[in-house]
Symmetry: C2
Subunit: 223 residues, 2 copies
Amino acid sequence: MSSIKKDYNQLLETLIGIFTVDKGKIKILLMHKKTEPYKGYWVLPGSLLSNNETLEDNITDVVCDTLGLPTMYIEQCYTFSNLNRDPDNRVVATAFIGLIDNITLVLKKQERDEIELAWFEINSIPKTGYDHDKIINKLVEYLKKRIINSNILKILFPSDFTLPELQKVYEQVLNTEIDRRNFRKKLVNLGYVIDTGDVNEGYMGRPAKLYRFNDELEERNLF
Amino acid sequence: MSSIKKDYNQLLETLIGIFTVDKGKIKILLMHKKTEPYKGYWVLPGSLLSNNETLEDNITDVVCDTLGLPTMYIEQCYTFSNLNRDPDNRVVATAFIGLIDNITLVLKKQERDEIELAWFEINSIPKTGYDHDKIINKLVEYLKKRIINSNILKILFPSDFTLPELQKVYEQVLNTEIDRRNFRKKLVNLGYVIDTGDVNEGYMGRPAKLYRFNDELEERNLF
DNA sequence: GCAAAAGTGTTTTCAATACACCCATGG
DNA sequence: CCATGGGTGTATTGAAAACACTTTTGC
């Protein structure tokens, strides 16, 4: 067995792209790297897999313990195995997406200072280390597909969102403009969202009504 | 570095579910295991990842060299990392799907005899070794989603298929019955398939017309 | 001529699209 | 009262769904 392990010996790491929506903009959480290699660049949070944990356990620990974030919805996306992803070792990386709504997030943040984290709009990714630009691209495309083909937006919008905000997300994902009246008709008339009766005051212009997703609705492609 | 490798030292393997469609039935290719553990059980083909290859290179070699099959369309699906997947070692497995049309397949098969392979309908999977039943399930679900959300059926039906055959595939994937007239209307009237002018003779009943997919059509959810 | 399987047309319903004006708030 | 952004209704088009009979072949 030990002879086998010499020829077949890779390191395995997890990486996570944590996404949220802030004022209708999809954002990803990146970490500022403080050590070489790629010191000063931005990278996806993650860690090496040890022998006594699953990939999912590992990435959950990264989110909760290392980043100090609340537990959140996580999905595995893709495993990257290019030979020179990491300049020092052969490291295979399994990448995840994590989703957290903006409200839950604000409540629990800022418990730790030794790690510098920042949110970036997915169209304005800063200079990244390793092959993380490629991985971020894949994660963003994966997220977009999932938003279109499933109802995971419920996770990013647990309650009390406005239709203009939701529409902006769909416009980013679909890369088109959507007619406001038709968007509203679709979501409200087909029963995907429910009027909470509250409105979103304190912004410019007429206050927007607040909605929540209808939980009883089956998963279906909306667009 | 070597101290790190002691704590973080996993084996990584690839596995592949190769799918085809035969007379409207979706089938998966499994391998009869000739050695312990799980001797006599059926498993997904695969191999351990060595240090100088990517997962994709590795699984392509399995398909072409080990199984003696033609190169085919391959997609990565999921990475399984449960601690006791393999009774002997900690092995993390990245699973792929491969798609091959029945015609190409028949032409190139049977070049090797030392490996026993067989096709199984996805609703009649035999007794499997390791956690491969769970992995097969995931691969089948992944394939179904991809069939619904993309146009990969073009790969399984490169040309000259009948609409009743294609309909059977959709019925398996969607787990519903589809009206023959509406199915035909949708695919033909909306330009997804094109009448080749040939027919499928030699079977019972009226011969079915042969179609091919319209290559110029954009990816879209049909159902 | 009978069994097996495939092809065909019409009507109704509902969602998709296109499009312009009015309303509520903050400053 | 004006700027900003949000809400609303109608008409048209096109696809989805429901539904029954006829055609071609093998035996």
